[in-house]
């Protein structure tokens, strides 16, 4: 029987509901444990004139304090470019930057002491915004351009032309489990690190580099995270490194758990963008040329901004064919925290820009935006992206028409028009938008994974792979994949914590690729062992290996049925190796970044959403009254898990676009550093009517694991439909208007937009 395509519960569901699931802070505390806290800069930009840590050292319970001077190796935690210090040396570059770390006998003693440093700064005027950085030509990396066709000529001859600009805010991850690491010195001079991380291998490398040790001296382990969303791809580096420095200094185990406010000040977020478009189009709204200029606030260092901005550029077409396109992106350096990966990784910012310029075209022509969307979709003869990749498996034309019919878009459009005509204050809006999200790390070498599988003599299996579990259901999916190879109950496959000592050189669990990569690697390991067992059983029964079948926990050959456990035991006695590694690398992909040309993506994950909103144009308050989603998860490995990813991703995207507003004061201090001022959606803020369906016809045309499609990030971008439905509601205030509405569309911004429309601006 098939063990995949089944809606199994999350592998840790029972542990979760009983409180037995252990997160890093729940691990039994080792003897002699010290607790750490971080001293933060209270200045956004400037030189450090004096740093007096005497009061910190003398505070009750303090055992050790470390500064940059105590770093034996390299003072750097940059994941790609080496431009981000662990601890500040002679200057600070954002408010909240780490200056020192302290270890004390209790959490409270450490946190109290961390506030006692006497620091004198020579402050400089900080660059806080994209505009300030652009004006000062302050960049973390050079700009990059993708180009296809003659954009100037196509724009010049286009029958219609418009220019538009959109600003979109960043987003805090607000993983419920904050950043944390627990570091234990080992008797050989090495360190064992428990870290809440999506990237154990990078934690390993960074701890080793900062401590001046070989990578092999550091082992990193993580069983589960309480959410990641990209915020634990690189941002765990600092936490683990600081705990390791203190553990090295004291020779004692050290735990560093950031309190929430510190977490929000000290760690990176989604990039905010300013995007400008110049677009030429015909009478039907078909685009002839696009000139796009994106600018992202990267913060003080590059972190992952190169790839994030590239991904924004890769998605500036979203699902639409651009005959001629120039996409240019600036990576702005500012005196703010270094922005980082967040679910979608630049894709949402690129895609929101695309849906915005399409919406502008429709409003300028007085057309239903859905018609303009449909007429611009990729199709036969119109299938090359701005980075010269051919769109092969183009499911959106069919999928969108299906959703248009099932959600009764046209009838509801008529009803909303009629409603708005007689409702002066409450306005309704509707938008149906697609998502086409490229799957693969665009940094090609990251598209590899490893797994390790053992069969014990009693037939139980022990599985390990390089992926990390952050709630997305990776572990249960890979468990199903391995169980399917042997046709044994998934519970026979024991899941083990991700550990750099078992599978080395792993890629981050990111880019929605966790299952595609690790599932294949684990399947390859399982197939190796299956082949060994089949050959062994065949030889014992004078059969060929092809005759041996694995069925429901048994091995069948020539009419004999042997228990799987019995086969394992006999294989052991016959000295058959019952342990195997598996490896996978994604085929077909290649990309020449200098030429901005190639096939960066193995395939695209697609979906569409139709959102309806009601807006009180006198107060700016709004509700999302109904959402219909049709999403292509290919042949879903676990439909319940995938459906959960879609629902959760959509609501997280709604938060990004409607309520979650990061706000820095003029001095450069983040003032929204707790859920009291930073509005995370709660159970009442979500769509009142919420229909989510997996596309039944979905099947990956590429040879992915059981023909499934990645589903981690793409659904977040379905929430772009909510933003455009809000814009649609506002547009009803004045015929042929193009409302000025930036993201997030908070009640204030909606009110300003409504006021401007009423005043004819």
């Amino acid at each position: 029987m098939s063990r995949v395509h089944q809606s199994l519960a999350h592998d840790s569901a029972v542990q979760h509901v009983t409180g037995r699931a252990r997160y890093t802070d729940d691990l039994p505390e080792p003897k002699g444990l010290l607790h750490a806290a971080v001293g933060l800069s209270q200045c956004a930009a400037g030189r450090i004139m004096a740093l007096d840590l005497g009061p910190v050292r003398n505070s009750p319970g303090v055992v050790a304090v470390v500064t940059a001077a105590d770093i034996p190796g390299v003072n750097d935690i940059g994941p790609v470019f080496h431009d981000e210090p662990v601890l500040a040396t002679d200057r600070v570059d954002y408010w909240g930057q780490a200056l020192f770390a302290v270890a004390a006998t209790t959490v409270e003693a450490a946190r109290r002491a961390a506030r006692l440093a006497q620091v004198t700064y020579a402050p400089e005027p900080p660059l806080l915004t994209v505009d300030q950085a652009l004006a000062a030509a302050s960049f973390v990396l050079p700009p990059h351009t993708m180009q296809k066709g003659d954009v100037e000529a196509a724009l010049a001859t286009a029958p219609h032309r418009l220019a538009c600009e959109l600003r979109m805010g960043g987003q805090d991850h607000f993983y419920l489990e904050g950043q944390i690491a627990l570091v234990l010195p080992q008797d050989d001079g090495g360190f064992l690190v428990y870290s809440s991380t999506q990237h154990p291998s990078e934690i390993q490398h960074k701890v080793a580099e900062v401590l001046g040790l070989p990578s092999a001296a550091v082992t990193v382990e993580v069983r589960r995270m309480g959410g990641g969303f990209g915020g634990k791809e690189t941002q765990g580096n600092l936490i683990a490194v600081l705990a390791a420095l203190l553990a090295r200094q004291t020779g004692r185990p050290v735990k560093l758990r950031l309190d929430r406010d510190t977490d929000m000040e000290l760690t990176g977020k989604r990039h905010d963008f300013k995007s400008r478009f110049e677009v030429g189009f015909d009478d039907e709204g078909r685009i002839l040329a696009l000139d796009a200029e994106l600018a992202a606030r990267c913060g003080l260092s590059a972190d992952l901004s190169a790839a994030i901005c590239d991904r924004a550029m890769f998605h500036t077409d979203n699902a639409y064919y651009l005959p001629a396109a120039r996409i240019h992106a600036h990576r702005c350096k500012t005196h703010t925290v270094s922005n980082t990966a967040f679910r979608g990784f630049g894709g949402p910012q690129g895609m929101l820009g695309a849906e915005f310029y399409i919406d502008e075209i429709a409003r300028q022509l007085g057309k239903d935006p859905l018609d303009v969307r449909l007429s611009n979709l990729y199709g036969p003869g119109r299938d090359t992206t701005p980075y010269h990749m051919q769109v092969e498996d183009n499911v959106l034309p069919e999928l969108m028409l299906e959703l248009e019919a099932t959600c009764r878009y046209r009838q509801r459009r008529q009803a909303i028009t009629a409603f708005n005509a007689q409702s002066p204050i409450i306005k309704r809006g509707l938008a149906l938008t697609p998502v086409k999200f490229g799957i693969s790390f665009t940094v090609t070498h990251l598209n590899q994974a490893g797994a390790l599988l053992h069969i014990y003599q009693d037939g139980s299996l022990h599985l390990n792979h390089g992926g990390t579990e952050m709630g997305q259901g990776l572990f249960v999916k890979v468990q199903q994949i391995v169980a399917d190879v042997f046709d044994v109950p998934p519970a026979w496959v024991h899941l083990s914590p991700t550990n750099t000592g078992k599978v080395p050189n792993t890629s981050p669990t990111a880019a929605s690729s966790g299952t595609d990569l690790n599932g294949m690697a684990a399947q390859n390991a399982a197939l190796t062992l299956k082949d060994r067992l089949a050959a062994f059983v065949a030889e014992r029964h004078q059969a060929s290996p092809e005759e041996v079948r694995f069925e429901q926990g048994e091995v069948v050959v020539r009419g004999n049925r042997l228990a799987f456990a019995e086969v394992a035991r006999r294989a052991y006695l016959a000295r058959i190796q019952l342990s195997a590694t598996g490896f996978y690398k994604t085929p077909k992909i290649h990309y020449d970044r200098d030429q901005a040309r190639g096939r960066p993506f193995y395939y695209f994950a697609c979906g569409a959403a139709c959102s309806e909103v009601a807006v009180n144009t006198a107060t700016g308050e709004h509700r999302t009254t109904r959402v219909d989603i049709l999403h292509d998860a290919g042949r879903s490995l676990n439909p319940a898990i995938d459906q959960g990813q879609i629902e959760g991703g959509f609501v997280q995207g709604m938060g990004w676009l409607t309520s979650e507003e990061l706000w820095w004061n003029e001095a450069g201090r983040l003032m929204t550093h707790a859920p009291s001022t930073y509005k995370i959606p709660t159970a009442r803020d979500v769509p009142h009517t919420f229909h989510v369906s997996l596309w039944e016809r979905g099947e990956n045309h590429e040879d992915t694991i059981h023909r499934s499609k990645a589903v981690g990030e793409p659904p977040l971008m379905l929430a772009i439909s909510v933003f455009l439905a809000l814009r649609d509601a506002l547009a009803s205030l004045r015929p042929h208007s193009r409302p000025k509405l930036d993201a997030p569309a908070t009640p204030e911004r909606i009110l300003w937009a409504a006021k401007a429309l009423r005043e004819g601006r």
Partner: protein, 161 residues
């Protein structure tokens, strides 16, 4: 330091704690009951919800000394041996969890809701959960799980009568 005696999940306990020690610290650090989580440190996210004398409270808001003589129930005390409480079973059955970090607090809140209102409407469930943040699920399956638990508990009650 104060000596505080109370019961946790039916067992009498005594802890030594400072006046400012939070209940959540006493539960996690002194009693090893790590199922009660700290998410935001400031009593907003709801990961720390436990019951004191049957009513849900945020254990990041309550001082340990305040529970002197009280009966405290944590997520670890909800199941009867291996048999899950109906709300726990429903969260598992209806996929009302992903990363699981908010789950203990969600379940403790939901159990209290059902004590007050045995058959809440969807709106009432959503209103009750205002103090519990989930960042993964979008709440859809959480609401579904609580609704299903209410129905299953009503069924059990009828069967018992």
């Amino acid at each position: 330091m104060a000596t505080i005696s109370f019961t946790v999940n039916g067992n009498p306990v005594t802890v030594e704690a400072e006046g400012r020690t939070l209940l959540v610290e006493a539960l996690r650090q002194q009693l090893g009951l790590t199922g009660t989580h700290v998410g935001c440190d400031t009593s907003q996210c709801g990961c720390c919800v436990v019951h004191v004398d049957g009513a849900s409270v945020k254990a990041c808001t309550v001082l340990a000394v305040q529970v002197e003589g009280c009966s405290v129930t944590t997520i670890e005390g909800l199941a009867q041996g291996d048999e899950l409480h109906p709300v726990q079973a429903a969260f598992r059955e209806h996929h009302g969890l992903q990363c699981g970090f908010c789950t203990p607090g969600m379940i403790m809140s939901a159990v209290d809701l059902l004590q007050h209102n045995a058959s809440p409407s969807e709106t009432e469930i959503r209103e009750w959960l205002e103090g519990n943040i989930c960042r993964c699920t979008g709440y859809h399956n959480i609401v579904k799980a609580i609704d299903a638990a209410a129905k299953s508990m009503a069924g059990q009650k009828i069967a018992a009568e």
